[in-house]
């Protein structure tokens, strides 16, 4: 392995090391001790985060994982010494290579920021100055390092090549708004590693990126960190990503560390009820699908910020809580294997009973066609140019089944949903039938019955509910319009609906502001069911929710489907969720269906090359089976000739892919693919790779 610029070879964790050309000891890079962070809410300072203790050794990758509000980003900001105006470090110390960061002067802090610590965070598109060229912003870093002016351009190109940006000479002259998310994140990473910092802090660096792009960025980070020997603090809400990237992990909840230790141990042998709960609520393949078991959930709610709690902060939600838990807060008890757990009873963790009964709701499946989408295309006009959002879609949805729709941004999945719902009118020649009868293409032309039959649950519950209306009004109005009836009937039906989504009457008159994300989504679901729909389109219904809440919503949707015999078109970018809940799956790319089949068939293989790449991009996959896609997703206004995937397909067989667009054909009973390669050959190819 060639050494990086300025380094003399790779890092060894325990020997004497050189960083930036000077020998330093093998002491830990970062030591966080008893850290507490306060926030000013109104006029009082409240402690939001406390008792944070962890150490990052040389070359180590340390993960901070937790749900929203757990304080992981706050810790990162404290380490960077960039808390907002209403935040301060209450107690404790943060030592970087021995120096206490909290006690540095302005000048020293700047030195540290230039040379020793760098950060990459979530949204790359806003992280760069929109009025300056890329090259100039990257050159800044070298300028601060003292690199002479004449040498800077060369160094900039070098570092851009290092993060695998194609054609760096051109990119350097661009402005941020002209680059894609993935490219921008690479630029930010380039700026971060340019100084070969001792510590690299990554805060949800890939959350806003597409799956395939995310995989590449994570690979890049792993490669760079190995080359440069930098330590990494990796913050994410995604357990899968943390597991993939980190040597050690700390789990945070309500501003406190619940557990810390080697990542594998924490994940395979969790010793804290919260970690157990989190892992159980994930719909991983090993659990089987929704017909095998329900997902276990974590009941209750997060305590409010800065609330003063006696005893263990998790007590209200813990399945094995005892009296002592409510009286005495547990310390971070050490356990064998160099790990700690903040629990009075860590040994009981493996035997924690389930909160939710595992028996899945019984449902009866039918082969009767509910929705048939045929020859459906949708072309938008944008500034005179046609944008081919959907091309030639043929899809069937049967009564009571869940069809999962997967694809990255630009695949057209949202457009398909909107066409189905009547929000967009499809192109001429498209046909959508409901129970055999053709559906009017536009909402205004549909009758009340058809309208009530096809409804939607949206991604963002904050946007989906009118903030000024009460829960009661939101649901009743839908009932009145979709079902009809007098005052009393509407009211009674509203109460029934609330019950169906497992919400008590105490929420009846509340406004959305007073509800949590999960509760809001339940209200949205109740509203969608107001007219006893035959099909509900679920557009990323759990993406905006925390992991533990997601499980509860998925269970709810599963139950409702069994009770009401409703079909779902379930759109999600999370393949595990789709795999769990869908009966059949359709994979989309650039407005076309690439593959359609049962969930088992689609996920089991042999796969369409795009599906193969998508699956391999998931952080749950093992090493060595990564399929990397070249290039970017093409623009929908200018699809490539032949097969639209051919510009990036790693399995491309030849000219036929570039000239003839394959047809979506039934390669096996119930399985459709749009690819020139026969199934048998795909099986061969994919077996070889997996070896």
């Amino acid at each position: 392995m060639t050494g990086p610029i300025g380094m003399n070879g790779p890092i060894e964790v325990n020997g004497p090391i050189e960083v930036n050309g000077t020998k330093v000891s093998s002491a830990p890079v970062l030591e966080v001790e008893n850290l507490a962070i306060d926030y000013k809410i109104g006029t009082d300072w409240k402690t939001a985060v406390r008792d944070i203790n962890f150490t990052i050794e040389r070359g180590q990758t340390f993960g901070l994982v937790g749900e929203s509000g757990c304080g992981k980003s706050t810790v990162a900001m404290a380490i960077m010494h960039y808390l907002p105006r209403n935040g301060r470090i209450g107690k404790g110390s943060i030592r970087l290579a021995g120096k206490d960061l909290t006690r540095l002067s302005g000048k020293e802090l700047r030195q540290v920021r230039v040379n020793q610590i760098s950060m990459v965070y979530q949204d790359p598109s806003s992280a760069l100055n929109p009025s300056l060229r890329i090259g100039q912003q990257v050159a800044d870093v070298f300028d601060l390092m003292g690199v002479p002016r004449e040498e800077q351009p060369r160094r900039v190109i070098e570092i851009m090549e290092k993060v695998q940006i194609a054609d760096p000479a051109r990119v350097v002259r661009r402005y941020p708004h002209q680059l894609s998310g993935g490219m921008l994140q690479r630029v930010v990473i380039a700026m971060a590693i340019a100084s070969q910092p001792a510590l690299l802090v990554l805060d949800e660096p890939t959350t806003s990126l597409d799956a395939t792009v995310e995989a590449e960025v994570l690979d890049l980070v792993a490669k760079l960190r190995d080359e440069i020997g930098t330590s990494v603090l990796f913050i994410s809400h995604s357990l899968a990503v943390i597991r993939k990237m980190c040597d050690r992990t700390a789990v945070l909840y309500a501003g406190r560390m619940m557990a810390e230790g080697p990542t594998e141990a924490i994940f395979t042998n969790p010793r804290h009820p919260y970690t157990v709960g989190l892992l159980r609520s994930l719909p991983t393949p090993d659990k089987g699908g929704r017909d095998v078991t329900t997902l276990d959930t974590i009941p209750g709610f997060l305590p409010p910020l800065g609330a003063h709690i006696v005893g263990c902060v998790y007590a209200d939600r813990c399945p094995i809580v005892e009296d002592i838990c409510r009286e005495v807060e547990p310390d971070l008890n050490p356990l064998p294997g160099d790990r700690v757990s903040r629990c009075h009873f860590p040994d009981r963790a493996p035997d924690i009973p389930r909160t939710v009964a595992p028996d899945p709701p019984l449902r009866h499946r039918s082969n009767e066609t509910l929705i048939q989408i045929s020859h459906t295309s949708k072309t938008f006009m944008q500034e005179g140019q046609p944008v081919y959002a959907l091309t030639d879609i043929d899809l069937e949805i049967r009564v009571g089944e869940t069809v999962g729709l997967v694809g990255e941004s630009g695949s057209g999945k949202s457009t398909l949903a909107k066409v189905l719902l009547g929000i967009h009118a499809p192109d001429h020649g498209s046909v959508v039938t409901l129970s055999g009868v053709e559906l009017a293409t536009e909402l205004k032309a549909r009758d009340q019955k058809s309208i009530g039959a096809v409804q939607m649950v949206f991604q963002n519950p904050d946007s989906a509910l009118n903030r000024r209306h009460s829960v009661r009004r939101i649901i009743s109005r839908a009932v009145t319009l979709l079902r009809g009836g007098g005052r009393k009937q509407v009211d009674s039906r509203t109460k029934d609906l609330l019950q169906e989504v497992r919400m008590g009457m105490q929420y009846f008159n509340l406004k959305p502001r007073q509800l949590s994300g999960g509760l809001k989504q339940r209200v949205a679901i109740a509203r969608a069911f107001a007219g006893s729909p035959a099909l509900v389109v679920c557009d990323e219904p759990t993406s905006a929710l925390d992991v533990s809440v997601q499980a509860a919503i998925i269970n709810l949707l599963s139950e409702l489907q069994a009770d009401e015999d409703v079909a779902y078109l379930f759109i999600s970018h999370d393949l595990n969720v789709v795999r769990y809940i869908a009966d059949r799956v359709a994979v989309m790319y650039l407005g076309r269906l690439m593959e359609v089949g049962t969930a088992d068939r689609i996920f089991g293989g042999p796969h369409h090359p795009y599906t193969e790449a998508l699956l391999s991009a998931s952080p749950d996959m093992e090493e060595g089976t990564r399929i990397r896609l070249q290039g970017e997703i093409p623009a929908a206004s200018n699809p490539p000739p032949g097969c639209v995937f051919q510009t990036r397909c790693p399995r491309k067989i030849g000219e036929i892919c570039e000239t003839v667009e394959p047809v979506l054909e039934e390669a096996e009973p119930g399985y459709f693919k749009r690819c020139h390669i026969p199934v048998a050959e795909l099986r061969e190819m994919q077996l070889v790779r997996l070896a």
Binding site: M80, Y82, R110, Q111, V112, R113, V114, N115, S118, M119, Y121, D123, S126, A127, L128, N129, P130, S131, L132, D140, V141, L144, R170, R174, Y175, H177, Q178, L179, S180, V188, M191, A635
Partner: protein, 317 residues
């Protein structure tokens, strides 16, 4: 980019056209007919009719409009009834005078309010901020004639440092002219300052809190450089757009200020025209003023899109 310019230009022309229609309709609402107004209530009807025929004011409205607008486009705005001179001649001189006054006001207010807004944002929440924000706000809402009178009282009557009118003696030097214009200019400055300072302040605060500023600081850049490059560069962009819209208030202010300080500018001219129901002068004047306003807005839009790389270069490359 050129497409954008053409569209913008077309828009300006369209708006001007609509404006001319509005102005014409407005002036047609003035009571009585033109002939009667000129000759007075005691002239006999035949003389009035003859005058109307001669002036062309007895023709149908649409014809009058067309006549007016077609000559306006070539620069001939008709003949002023009250001054008995061609409108464009009167306008030319008045515009020149007003330009001097407005120019002086602008030269003072723009740097002052930008600076004020920036400082207020940087010292957010502290005393300086409150003074700039509240002070600016208060100054803005006080009508010019009030502040004008207070200024005249203080500087011209009590202290006798500056003249109480704005018209200098003929052939005065540059500095003398400025001396005469400074009080009315300050009047205008007071009104404009608050709003511009406040928009600037908001823009700077937004830039200070932006992600890219965070990136810059975490890179290790010194604060002064961050402020210059990341904050100001992005914050001042929307301010440019706003300054142009203030021209409208400026012109309105000119009317009052010029009257108060006895200055023969466009504001005074329009005021006299309205008072005397001098339709050609009024219509012509408002049209020109409207046109100037549109031109300023157009230039500001062009300037803004030139500065903003997003608009200049378009999307993904």
């Amino acid at each position: 980019m050129t497409k954008f310019i053409l569209r913008r230009f077309g828009l300006a022309v369209l708006t001007l056209f609509l404006l001319s229609v509005l102005v014409f309709i407005g002036t047609q609402l003035l009571p009585g007919d033109v002939g009667r107004r000129i000759l007075g209530p005691f002239a006999n009807q035949e003389a009035v009719d003859a005058l109307n025929a001669r002036l062309g004011t007895d023709r149908p409205v649409l014809v009058q409009y067309w006549d007016w607008i077609s000559s306006a486009v070539t620069g001939d705005l008709g003949f002023s009834i009250s001054y008995s001179r061609p409108v464009h001649e009167l306008m030319g001189r008045a515009l020149g005078n007003s330009a001097k006054l407005a120019g002086l006001a602008f030269v003072i207010v723009v740097p002052l309010s930008l600076l004020g807004g920036i400082v207020a944002a940087l010292r957010r929440g502290k005393l300086t901020d409150r003074i700039v924000t509240v002070g600016g706000l208060s100054a803005t809402v006080i009508p010019e004639f009030v502040s004008g009178i207070v200024l005249i009282l203080v500087f011209a009557v009590f202290l006798r440092w500056l003249p109480g009118t704005a018209t200098p003696p003929a052939g005065a030097s540059f500095f003398t002219q400025v001396r005469y214009l400074i009080l009315p200019a300050i009047c205008l400055v007071l009104v404009l300052f608050g709003y511009i300072a406040r928009i600037t302040r908001a823009g700077v605060i937004e830039a200070l809190e932006a992600d890219y500023t965070r990136t810059a600081i975490l890179k290790g850049l010194p604060r002064s450089k961050v402020i210059r490059r990341d904050v100001l560069r992005n914050a001042l962009l929307p301010t440019v757009a706003v300054i142009a819209t203030q021209v409208g208030y400026l012109i309105g202010g000119l009317v009052v200020v010029e009257l108060l300080f006895s200055y023969q500018g466009i504001g005074r001219l329009l005021y006299d025209a309205a008072r005397n129901a001098d339709f050609p002068l009024l219509a012509g004047g408002v049209l020109v003023v409207g046109a100037i306003f549109q031109v300023v807005m157009l230039l500001a839009d062009l300037f803004y899109s030139w500065l903003n790389p997003r608009l200049r270069l378009g999307g993904h490359g």
